[in-house]
C-alpha cells in the first residue's frame, strides 16, 4: 500500500493511466457530435444557406472537462483509495503482558470490537516475542504467562459474565498475583467500582498499566414494575450525554408458542440525563406470555430484564343474574365489584361456558340462582381443579329453592326460605353490624368499620357443620360469609348482595380488603428476605453475560433469603427461579444498582476502541464518475439540440437528478389530506352517502342528499353543510350521523378493514340507510338483484334483528307525523331494528318504551335519493308520480328524510315526549 497523507492506494500503479488523459482530450476534441436527422418541410427555404462558422463542430471545453473528470474519477476509483489505512502501531513494551478483563456484563456491549482489539494486541505481542497471561476479575485465578499465540484461540476466557467483580473477587485475585514484573492491559467495562483503586496500585507496582475501555455509556434496564395498568420500564445509563432514544422490546411467545417480539416501546434519555422511562400497556393475555425485556441493539445481561409473577394479575370473571340495559348503573349487581377489582385484577365478561376454557383465577356469581346442568358440571370440575367461586346472594337466590332441602354442590350451606329483613320500614329492629372476625377466619385482623350495616340477608340453615364454614358473621351471630372446600378449590358465599341494596358493605373499604384476603384480587409485591425463610428456589432459566437466556440444567436450588439479598456471583446467577406457587426473577440490575462511569487517574493511558476507521473511497469515486457521466449525457443532449423544449427538458433533468439523489416524501401528504377531510366533515353537520362506483347513482345520491340538506335547512334547526361522498375504504366514517347507501348490483364488496370500520360506526351510534331503489325489499326471499346484493353486503355487518317499522315507532313522529315513507316508489315496507321482546305500550297509548339506541340501520327500497334530488338551482331532478299526487309524494319523501335525520340526532327524545302531559300535570299546571 502506498500512502499519500491519510489516503493510501491499494493499486497505485493504476494511477499511471492518468498520464493518458491529455491524449484523450485531443481525441475527444477532434470528434464533433453526430448529426440528427430531422424531417422538416421548410428545408426548401434552407437550400443554399451556408454555415457561418466552422468552429462549432468542436466539443465545448467545459464538456471536455466534465468527461476528463469522469475518466479521472474512474481511474482513481479503480486504484483503490483508502482513507486512514491501518498503520502498524509500533508502540510496544518489553517483558510479559497481563491482559486483565473486568469480565462483567458491562463489557458485553462491544465485545466483538474488544476481541478484535485483543487479537491485534496478541498478534503484536507475538511479533515482539512477549509472553502473555489472560485473567478475568469475575472468575479470579492465578495468571499464567504463555506464548501469545497459545492464547489466540482462548479469548473467550475473558468473555463477560452476568455479574460484576466485587471486593472479594479483587482480594482473591491479588492473593494469586505473585511478585513478577509485567505490563498490564486492563480491559475495563467502564463502570466505577471501589475496588479499582487498590487493584490499580498493585498492578502499577509491577509494571506499566494501560486501560482499554469503550467510550459508549453502559446501558441497563431495571426490572419491570406493574403500575397503573401498564408496565413501567426504566432504563439507565452510566454517563449522561447527548439525548438518545432507545427501543425496549418485550419478548414473549406467540399463541403458537414460538418466541417473538410482542411489543416495543421507546424511551428517551434527555441531554445529560441518566434515566429514561416508558410504559408499555399490554392486554393481560400478552402480559402473561412475556418472557423478557431488552434494550434493542444493546448486548449484555444488564440490558435484559426478566419479569416474574409481579406482572401477572388475577383474572376474575364476573357473572350477574340479571343484566338489563335499561337498569340504572348504580343498581347493577356488578357495579361495586367491578370498581373494587378493576385496579388489581383483569375482569372477564361473557357467558359462563365461554369463560371457563379461559381458566380464570376466580369466578364471581352475583345473585345467580340456578345454572344449566352442563354449566354447573363444568363449573364444579373447574372448582375441584383449584378454582375459587365467589357467590353473592340477592332477590333471585332468596326466591329460589337452591340449596333448600339439601346442600347444593356449589353452595357452602343450606339456605332457609325467604331470607330476612331487619331495620326496614316493615320490620322490627335495627340494621345489624358486623362482628369482629375470628382467628380462623381469613379476614382475621381486618378492622370492622362501625357504619357497615346489613338490612337484608339470606339465612343459613343451622346444620351441624355450619360453624366451621362461617368466616364472617353479624353481631347477632348469623353468618354473613360462609365457605367450603370443594376438591382443591373453594366456594364462598356472601349472604348479602354485591350492590348496596341489602347492606352497606360494598360501599366500605372493608369490602375491597375482604376480596383481597380471599385472593380474588392480587397484590403481588417483591418479597422480603424474611418472607422466604426456609424456602428453596430452583433455577429455571439463567442469563449469561451477553443477556442470552438459557436453560438452567441441573444447577442446585438457592435458599429463599439468599435469592433476594445475596450479591450475584458464580453460585447465584441472574435468571428465573421457581418456588412452590410462584416464580421469582433475579435481575442483573436492580433499582438500587449504582451505574457510574469509571474514573482513572491522569497518569493512566486510556484507549478507546474506535481508532480511525479504514474507509475505502473507491466506491465514492466510481459513483462520482457515474454522476459526471450522467451530467455529460444531459449536457450532450442539450448541446446537440436533442433535449428540446426548454422548461420541460430542464424539468426532466431536474427530475432525473432528484431521482438519483433523494427519494421523495409521500406519507406526510396523506396525513394532511386526512386532516383536511376531518376538518371539513366536522365543521358542520353533514350528510354522507357511500360511493358505489356507479357515477349515475353516486350523482343521484349526492343530489338527493343536497335536496334533503336544503329541506332540513329551511324547515328545521338542523343546518347541514354540503353532503359528502364517502369512500368506505379510505375515509373516516365517524364524522357522519347518517350514511345513505344506495345498493347497486355491480358495486364492489368492501374490504375486511372497511367492514371493521362500518361495524365500529354502527356500534358508536351511526345509522346507515340502505336503499335498494327497486321497491322490492320486503318480499320474502327478496329476489331482485339489488336485494341479493344488499344481503351479501350486509352479511358481515353487525345488524340486530329487524322488523317493519311499527306504527308507533319513534321514526313516525320525530318531526312530522308520518305513516308512510315513500320515495320515488311508495312501497310501505321499511325495516328498522326490532323492539325488545318485553317492550310495552305505555298507558294504552301507542307509544312504547323502545330501546334507547337509535336504530342502526333503516332498510328500504323506495329510492329516496331520487325523490330528494335537486340540481344546483334547487329544482327537482327526477319526476315522482304524476301531477299533484306526485308532488305530494315528493313532499312526504322529504318529510321522511327530515324525520330520519331528526331520529338520528335526537334518539328517542320524541318518544319520551309522551310523558310531558303527565309531568306538567304533576308540576301542578
Amino acid at each position: 500500500m502506498t500512502l499519500f497523507g491519510t489516503i493510501g492506494f491499494t493499486a497505485p500503479w493504476l494511477l499511471a493511466a492518468l498520464a493518458a488523459l491529455p491524449l484523450l482530450w485531443l481525441l475527444l476534441r477532434a470528434v464533433p457530435p453526430a448529426p440528427i436527422r430531422r424531417r422538416f418541410p421548410g428545408v426548401a427555404l434552407l437550400l443554399g444557406l451556408a454555415d457561418a462558422e466552422q468552429v462549432s463542430d468542436r466539443t465545448p471545453w467545459w464538456l471536455m472537462l466534465l468527461r476528463m473528470l469522469a475518466v479521472a474519477a474512474v481511474i482513481v476509483g479503480l486504484a483503490g483509495p483508502v482513507l486512514n489505512p491501518e498503520e502498524d502501531a509500533a508502540e510496544a513494551g518489553r517483558g510479559p503482558l497481563l491482559i486483565l478483563s473486568d469480565g462483567s456484563w458491562g463489557a458485553a456491549g462491544d465485545w466483538s470490537a474488544k476481541e478484535d482489539a485483543l487479537e491485534a494486541v496478541l498478534a503484536e505481542a507475538g511479533r515482539a516475542g512477549r509472553t502473555v497471561a489472560l485473567a478475568r476479575l469475575t472468575t479470579p485465578g492465578a495468571p499464567v504467562f504463555q506464548a501469545a499465540d497459545a492464547w489466540r484461540g482462548r479469548l473467550a476466557d475473558l468473555a463477560p459474565q452476568p455479574w460484576t467483580p466485587d471486593g472479594e473477587d479483587v482480594e482473591a485475585f491479588l492473593a494469586e498475583l505473585g511478585d513478577g514484573e509485567f505490563d498490564t492491559l486492563w480491559l475495563s467495562d467502564g463502570l466505577a467500582r471501589e475496588s479499582r483503586a487498590r487493584l490499580l496500585d498493585a498492578l502499577e507496582a509491577r509494571g506499566r498499566v494501560r486501560v482499554m475501555q469503550s467510550d459508549a455509556a453502559v446501558l441497563a434496564l431495571e426490572p419491570p414494575v406493574f403500575e397503573d395498568g401498564a408496565i413501567a420500564l426504566t432504563a439507565r445509563r452510566s454517563a449522561g450525554g447527548a439525548p438518545r432514544e432507545i427501543t425496549i422490546a418485550a419478548h414473549g411467545r406467540d399463541p403458537a408458542g414460538a418466541p417473538r417480539v410482542l411489543a416495543r416501546a421507546t424511551a428517551d434519555f434527555a441531554a445529560g440525563g441518566t434515566t429514561a422511562e416508558t410504559a408499555l400497556s399490554l392486554p393481560a393475555e400478552l402480559r402473561a406470555r412475556l418472557t423478557w425485556f431488552e434494550i434493542e441493539g444493546v448486548r449484555g445481561a444488564g440490558a435484559v430484564a426478566l419479569p416474574d409473577d409481579s406482572l401477572r394479575r388475577r383474572e376474575v370473571a364476573l357473572i350477574a343474574g340479571r343484566e338489563d340495559r335499561e337498569g340504572l348503573e348504580l343498581l347493577s349487581p356488578l357495579y361495586y365489584l367491578e370498581n373494587a377489582l378493576e385496579p388489581t385484577a383483569e375482569l372477564l365478561d361473557g357467558a359462563l361456558t365461554d369463560i371457563l376454557p379461559a381458566n380464570p383465577d376466580a369466578i364471581v356469581l352475583a345473585d345467580v340462582a340456578t345454572l344449566a346442568p352442563a354449566a354447573q358440571e363444568s363449573l364444579t370440575e373447574w372448582i375441584e381443579g383449584g378454582g375459587l367461586l365467589l357467590r353473592f346472594a340477592g332477590p333471585r337466590l332468596a326466591a329460589s329453592d337452591v340449596s333448600r332441602e339439601e346442600e347444593a354442590t356449589l353452595m357452602p350451606v343450606r339456605l332457609r326460605a325467604g331470607g330476612r329483613t331487619v331495620g326496614g320500614a316493615m320490620s322490627w329492629g335495627e340494621p345489624k353490624a358486623l362482628a369482629p372476625f375470628g382467628e380462623e377466619s381469613p379476614f382475621h385482623g381486618l378492622d370492622v368499620p362501625d357504619d357497615v350495616t346489613v338490612t337484608a340477608q339470606v339465612m343459613a340453615q343451622p346444620d351441624p357443620g355450619l360453624s366451621e364454614r362461617v368466616i364472617a358473621q353479624l353481631t347477632d351471630g348469623t353468618p354473613l360469609v360462609t365457605r367450603k372446600a370443594l376438591g382443591q378449590g373453594q366456594v364462598v358465599l356472601f349472604h348479602v348482595t354485591a350492590n348496596a341494596e341489602w347492606s352497606s358493605l360494598p360501599l366500605s373499604g372493608l369490602f375491597v380488603q375482604m376480596l383481597e384476603r380471599l385472593a380474588v384480587s392480587s397484590a403481588v409485591a417483591q418479597p422480603e428476605p424474611g418472607d422466604l425463610e426456609g424456602t428453596v428456589w430452583q433455577p429455571q432459566q439463567l442469563l449469561d453475560g451477553f443477556g442470552r437466556l438459557a436453560d438452567a440444567g441441573t444447577r442446585p436450588g438457592v435458599p429463599g433469603p439468599e435469592l433476594v439479598s445475596a450479591p450475584l456471583g458464580p453460585d447465584l446467577r441472574p435468571g428465573l427461579y421457581a418456588g412452590e406457587d410462584r416464580a421469582l426473577a433475579r435481575n442483573v440490575v436492580q433499582a438500587d444498582t449504582e451505574l457510574a462511569p469509571a474514573v482513572w487517574p491522569e497518569r493512566i493511558a486510556v484507549e478507546g476502541l474506535d481508532r480511525p476507521q479504514e474507509t475505502p473511497l473507491g466506491g465514492a469515486f466510481l459513483l462520482a464518475a457515474l454522476a459526471l457521466l450522467l451530467a455529460d449525457v444531459i449536457a450532450s443532449l442539450a448541446l446537440s439540440g436533442r433535449l428540446r423544449g426548454g422548461p420541460a427538458g430542464a424539468a426532466a433533468a431536474a427530475l432525473l437528478a432528484a431521482l438519483v439523489l433523494a427519494p421523495a416524501p409521500g406519507a406526510a401528504q396523506e396525513d394532511a389530506d386526512a386532516d383536511a377531510f376531518a376538518l371539513a366533515a366536522t365543521k358542520e353537520v353533514a350528510l354522507a352517502h357511500v360511493v358505489t362506483g356507479d357515477p349515475e347513482v353516486d350523482r343521484m345520491a349526492r343530489a338527493g342528499l343536497r335536496g334533503l340538506s336544503e329541506t332540513l335547512f329551511f324547515r328545521t334547526s338542523v343546518e347541514p353543510a354540503e353532503p359528502f361522498s364517502v369512500d368506505l375504504e379510505t375515509d373516516e366514517l365517524a364524522f357522519f350521523p347518517l350514511l345513505y347507501w344506495p345498493v347497486t348490483p355491480e358495486q364492489p364488496t368492501p374490504s375486511a378493514e372497511a367492514y371493521t370500520k362500518l361495524n365500529e360506526y354502527l356500534r358508536s351510534g351511526g345509522m346507515i340507510l340502505f336503499d335498494t331503489r327497486d321497491a322490492d325489499v320486503a318480499g320474502f326471499g327478496a329476489s331482485s338483484p339489488n336485494g341479493r346484493k344488499l344481503q351479501s353486503l350486509a352479511r358481515p355487518l353487525d345488524i340486530p334483528p329487524l322488523e317493519p317499522v311499527p306504527e308507533d315507532h319513534v321514526l313516525t313522529r320525530t318531526f312530522y307525523l308520518l305513516q308512510d315513507f315513500p320515495g320515488r316508489h311508495a312501497r310501505r315496507d321499511v325495516w328498522v331494528e326490532a323492539a325488545p321482546a318485553d317492550a310495552e305500550r305505555i298507558e294504552g297509548m301507542p307509544f312504547r318504551d323502545l330501546n334507547d339506541n337509535v336504530t342502526p340501520v333503516v332498510i328500504g327500497g323506495n329510492d329516496w335519493a331520487a325523490a330528494w334530488a335537486v340540481n344546483e338551482q334547487g329544482d327537482p331532478l327526477y319526476p315522482v308520480g304524476s301531477g299533484y299526487g306526485g308532488e305530494r309524494q315528493r313532499e312526504l319523501a322529504y318529510r321522511f328524510g327530515v324525520n330520519l335525520v331528526m331520529h338520528v340526532l335526537t334518539g328517542n327524545y320524541k318518544s319520551d315526549q309522551v310523558h310531558v302531559p303527565a309531568l306538567l300535570d304533576r308540576l301542578g299546571q
Partner: protein, 291 residues
C-alpha cells in the same frame, strides 16, 4: 378473388376515413351561422320574399290569387333571388403537408382538408356548387358532392411539394387554395395569373406548422423534406434561424403581393391555432365581405 378482397378492404379503410372527416367538417361548419349568404332581394329562387301590388307588365300568371282574394288589389308573390355560385377548391395533398412537429398537433394536410371540407359543407348548405380545380371533380351541389370531395381530399400525392392545378377554371367562379406554399412559387404565380385572367377570385390560406414558424432547432442537423427528395446539412442549426425566418417572411410577403395584384385574399394559418377562426376567415373571404 384475392384482388377483389384486397380492393374491398382498402376501399373500406378509405371509406372509413370519410365519415369522421365529414362529421368533423360538419361540426366545424355548424359553428358558422348561415344567413349572410342570401341576396336579400327579389329574384329567382325558392323562398318567399314579399308580396307586391301588381304593376303593368306583370302577367296574369304571376298573380298570387290566394293573397289577392283577401283584398281588392291583386298581388304578385316575389321570391328571393338565389343564384348558385361555383366554388373550386385546391387542397395541397403533397408530402410536405403531412408534417406535424409534435404529436399534439394535427398534420398540416389534416387541418387543410378539414377546413376545405367545412367550407364545402357551408357552401353546399347555402346551395352553392362546389368542386375541385383541374376538371377532376366539376362543381356540383348536394350532399353526395360532399362525399366525393371528402374522398378526393383523402388521396395523398407522392410528390414533395404540391403545385396548384389551374386548368378548367370556370369563368367568374370563386376559388379556395389551401397549401403551405413552401415549394416553388412559380406554379402558384402561374395559377393565380390564369385565374385572374378568367375573372376568378378567391382566397389563399397558407397552413403552417408552428415549428416552421419558429425554427426551434439547434446543433448539428440534417434537414430532410418529408418525401426525402431534398436535404440540407448544417453544423449549427440555431445559426440558420434568423436567415430562415427572413426567407419565410419573404415568401409570405411575395404571396400576399401576388394576391393583392390578382384580387385574391391571403391569410396564414398555424396548426396550433383554432380551426374555427380560420374557417370564419375563409367564409368571410369567400362571401365577398369587406375587401
Amino acid at each position: 378473388m384475392s384482388d377483389a378482397l384486397a380492393l374491398r378492404a382498402r376501399a373500406e379503410a378509405e371509406a372509413g376515413a370519410l365519415p369522421p372527416l365529414l362529421a368533423r367538417a360538419d361540426q366545424l361548419a355548424g359553428t358558422v351561422l348561415l344567413g349572410s349568404h342570401g341576396r336579400r332581394r327579389a329574384g329567382m329562387g325558392d323562398d318567399f320574399w314579399q308580396y307586391r301590388p301588381m304593376v303593368a307588365g306583370d302577367t296574369a300568371r304571376m298573380v298570387d290569387w290566394r293573397r289577392s282574394a283577401r283584398s281588392d288589389e291583386r298581388f304578385v308573390r316575389e321570391r328571393e333571388w338565389q343564384v348558385a355560385q361555383s366554388v373550386l377548391m385546391w387542397v395541397d395533398q403533397a408530402a410536405s403537408m403531412r408534417f406535424a412537429s409534435s404529436p399534439d398537433l394535427p398534420e398540416k394536410a389534416d387541418r387543410a382538408r378539414l377546413l376545405a371540407l367545412a367550407v364545402a359543407v357551408l357552401l353546399v348548405r347555402g346551395g352553392e356548387r362546389v368542386g375541385l380545380t383541374g376538371g377532376e371533380l366539376p362543381p356540383r351541389r348536394g350532399e353526395v358532392q360532399l362525399m366525393r370531395l371528402a374522398e378526393a381530399f383523402s388521396r395523398e400525392a407522392i410528390e414533395d411539394y404540391g403545385a396548384p392545378e389551374a386548368r378548367a377554371m370556370l369563368p367568374q367562379s370563386s376559388a379556395v387554395f389551401l397549401s403551405d406554399f413552401l415549394g416553388d412559387p412559380a406554379p402558384v404565380e402561374a395559377a393565380l395569373g390564369k385565374a385572374a385572367d378568367r375573372g376568378v377570385r378567391g382566397v389563399m390560406l397558407q397552413v403552417l406548422d408552428p415549428a416552421e414558424e419558429a425554427f426551434p432547432f439547434r446543433g448539428r442537423t440534417i434537414f430532410e423534406s418529408v418525401g426525402r427528395s431534398l436535404a440540407h446539412e448544417t453544423l449549427k442549426a440555431d445559426d440558420l434561424r434568423a436567415r430562415y425566418l427572413e426567407r419565410l417572411a419573404e415568401r409570405k410577403a411575395h404571396l400576399a403581393a401576388l394576391c393583392e395584384a390578382t384580387g385574391w385574399r391571403y391569410q396564414c394559418h398555424h396548426t396550433d391555432q383554432s380551426a374555427q377562426s380560420a374557417l370564419l376567415w375563409l367564409w368571410q373571404g369567400m362571401d365577398g365581405g369587406p375587401e
